[in-house]
Amino acid sequence: MTTIIIIYVLLGLCLGLSLWKSRGKTVQSFHSAAKAFWNMAPGLLAIVGIVGLILGVLPPETISRLVGEEAGLIATATAAVLGAITLIPALISFPLAGSLLRSGATVTTIAAFITTLVMVGTVTAPLEIKALGKKFTLLRNGLSFLAALVIACIMGVILG
């Protein structure tokens, strides 16, 4: 909710300033925004559809069963892969991770899950490719996945 308020306040300020300085340029900005939106719309709709399907087949309870039941390396690898393919809002993923940690999952597993969840986006990759190119997207996601595994291991050693 705070996010929404902050972003609209920011928009109000910028829009006010823009209108005050030039009406024409403000209209031009809207054109630019509309074009960008039209171009991204299929990708955004597809994300909604795919995320719905993934979480429909793999609801948070199933994820927690998969991550919580297995032990050791398999659990960590499963968590990293699940984190990379799902797209769960932070407000749901942190309580989920917290309850997993309390119910016996290791720090390594939870760190792997959270880190790939936020940094690696398989579902959003087509959108990322469109805006930033194939090479950028593959490198960013691939390197982030590897980094997540390293981060998870270090965290497991220090906090585990």
Partner: protein, 174 residues
Amino acid sequence: MNIIMKFKAPLILALIYVTLAIWAPGIAYRSSAVALDYVREMALIIPPVFILMGLLQVWIPKDRIKSLIGTGSGLKGILISFTMGTLPTGPLYLAFPLAGSLLQKGARVSNIVIFLGAWAALKIPQLIAETEFLGLPFTALRFILTLTAVIVIGQIMEKLISPEDLPKTINTEM
């Protein structure tokens, strides 16, 4: 016809939903509930993000972006990219078009990677929720390690990516 081709991915997905509704209504119901939640979130966040992007494109000249976060912007560029990313602004996929237009305007690849990394993993509201549910040691350690990782990934990617690898016409010029 063109529009159907443009929207073929969402249309195929809609077809999958209809099929699921027939033989796996449970999954179809859960999936639609999740999808609707996302649509609601997007409806609120997309308009301001895209309008802000339009304003940025029209008002901020190329050399300004270049001097702020381009080559030679040094530590200042890193700090600006990091700060822009941590502001509370919504899901990562909305940062892609913004990142694309910043790159087109002369931002450094490494700074864009830091911007995206901070947006994805180091957002202020997200860190607050994380501290609440996973504790301060976990959050602080993940913050430090992720920030380091993002800076390193940015350096590596800058070495590997040349201007030809980036999309020629960013989404807005079509």
